[in-house]
Symmetry: C2
Subunit: 340 residues, 2 copies
């Protein structure tokens, strides 16, 4: 039986152990070969696992960590000062091959900085990328990268994002995914110098199924399976969508204080919209992956619920089983060989 | 009585005269000093105004234009070949001072290219910007620029966007608006080189109420009154939000085919959500303004309804009354004087 050990940053996120531990226990019950090394404050963690079945307890190791990276902490400071934090120790476990993946709902910037520092890049990879799957209305998924790991990306970095995204879709059994470059228009003459140069590179690479430029609204259509962009654009677009979703929910809430029909509408609409929102909120859907490193790192949304955090853990299991880092390493090596 | 003449591109948009003319007639009835020069195919326009009151007819001049810029036409080709189009003639009227503003629901790229070519920039302005007001849930408006006129912007261009946006909010009686720069995080160390350099420029400019970096979700909060960004980011973020809104409406439509409770929900929710969507869809809210030119150009969304197109016309009236181009010219001149 293959080793399936996940290092869990139990302290990360807005809720910490009360969300991360119950989520972990439920996933543990579903995957008999799974083990957790749970990193964090043992005084908060142990009481939450004391009463569970022995068969589950045997597959949990608690590693006490005296430090926590707070949500507002500067990445550079966390990197320097928080070497005993649950986040850092979880990443160290992956680096030491004691775990195959790390899952954290903690401070994104700190996680990126620490993962980059601890795990290092795969050979030939220029920059890591944060990627997530956006579910569209029809059940289709679009993988979007980068969502904020790199604010400035040249065409070669975007090309590597396309290769990494292409590997990632294999885990949902999608070979030869349609790759699009996010742009301000679909015509070839549109866009920045970088997007035009990236378009040439992707078109030349016969290992990729490049379909051309796509626009912002195509994040939610089924035009492409993988959409590449620099982390500045990806981050702003995702957060703008989050902001819109919240604003719509607020608007409907305010209806509840108007007349009786509005009240009825709000009472029916709110739970359903919130469910939709959770489904469409990419960070909460199944966790974002940090690609390009020598190890698997899954970032869950900070205010993820137990259900959402379970998705993030399952995403880690999926990537372990599909050996995502190894395959990315091979694909990039192949691309470099082809070019030379 | 001040002259208030608007050149109307009657042919622009997905619907053309059946939407633009009824919208114009309703606005005409509300503003007794308003005149229209309606540009387009007289055979389509004249029948739509034949039956109206003489007092309104006297304030409409129809200028027959044999050409139309189509929605999918390349801007460069439109600029070269469509000198007799309703769009081009409307802009010419502004350039010749026969009209104070032009309103069009036509091809955005062609309108930008033609407006830039026909009207020219105000002295000292580096690049024009497309701006619109995004209404947040609480009735607050955030002006966002640029939405796609310029894909690459350096810090000096972003600084001018801040000055232009600051002038624009005066027309809603908001002095000293809070200006934010769109970024991937709020901390000063976050972002691209351009955003950091722009932050320094905006902070140094004591004529601006610069509040720092804002994030994508702040497009829908009341944190800032004016948010500046390059046109690539602005365009992608807006279109992503449009895509999300459409996807949510599609999701709810699909509920209507499930069980009876879903059917009831969908029947109640859809009209209300569509209304919300129209309110929050920035292009349809009140038209986007092209700032920085020697004249007023308002771009309405291509598939605007009559109501939405009326907003665009009213936006033009507002900008004429507030002498937006003159004030922008003065503000930029002042900024250039202060620096020298």
């Amino acid at each position: 039986m293959a080793n399936l050990t996940i290092a869990l940053d139990a302290m990360g996120g807005d809720h910490g152990p009360p969300v991360t531990i119950p989520a972990a226990l439920e996933v543990l019950a579903e995957y008999p070969q799974l083990k957790f090394i749970v990193c964090g404050d043992k005084y908060q963690i142990v009481p939450l696992i004391n009463d569970i079945a022995l068969s589950l307890q045997q597959r949990i190791e608690v590693l006490h960590c005296p430090q926590v990276v707070s949500m507002g902490e500067k990445p550079s400071q966390a990197l320097r000062n928080k070497t005993q934090s649950s986040m850092r120790v979880s990443l160290d476990l992956v680096q030491e091959n004691r775990a195959q993946a790390c899952v954290s709902a903690g401070n994104t910037g700190a996680l990126l900085a620490m993962a980059y520092y601890v795990l290092k890049m795969l050979p030939g990879i220029k920059r890591p990328a944060l990627v997530t799957a956006i579910p569209s209305a029809k059940g289709h998924r679009t993988y979007v990268l980068d969502l904020g790991a790199n604010v400035e990306c040249d065409e070669h970095i975007l090309h590597q994002f396309a290769l990494m995204g292409s590997v990632l879709t294999e885990k949902i059994d999608l070979k030869n995914p349609r790759i699009g470059i996010l742009n301000v228009g679909e015509e070839e003459i549109k866009g920045s110098g970088t997007t035009k140069r990236a378009a040439r590179l992707l078109k030349e690479d016969k290992s990729l199924n490049y379909i051309g430029f796509v626009e912002g609204n195509d994040l939610f259509t089924d035009k492409a399976d993988v959409i590449v962009c620099d982390g500045f654009v990806g981050n702003v677009a995702m957060k703008a969508c989050e902001g819109l979703a919240k604003a719509v929910i607020e608007s409907i809430k305010s209806l509840a204080s108007e007349n009786w029909l509005s009240k009825v509408f709000a009472a029916i609409a709110l739970p359903m919209l919130k469910k939709l929102y959770r489904q469409m909120n990419p960070d909460q859907y199944n966790g974002a992956s940090l690609l390009g490193l020598r190890g698997i790192v899954i970032k869950s949304h900070g205010n993820a619920s137990k259900e959402a955090f379970k998705y993030a853990i399952e995403e880690a299991i999926n990537e372990i089983r599909h050996q995502v880092p190894e395959k990315i390493g091979n694909r990039i090596e192949q691309a470099l060989t082809d070019r030379s």
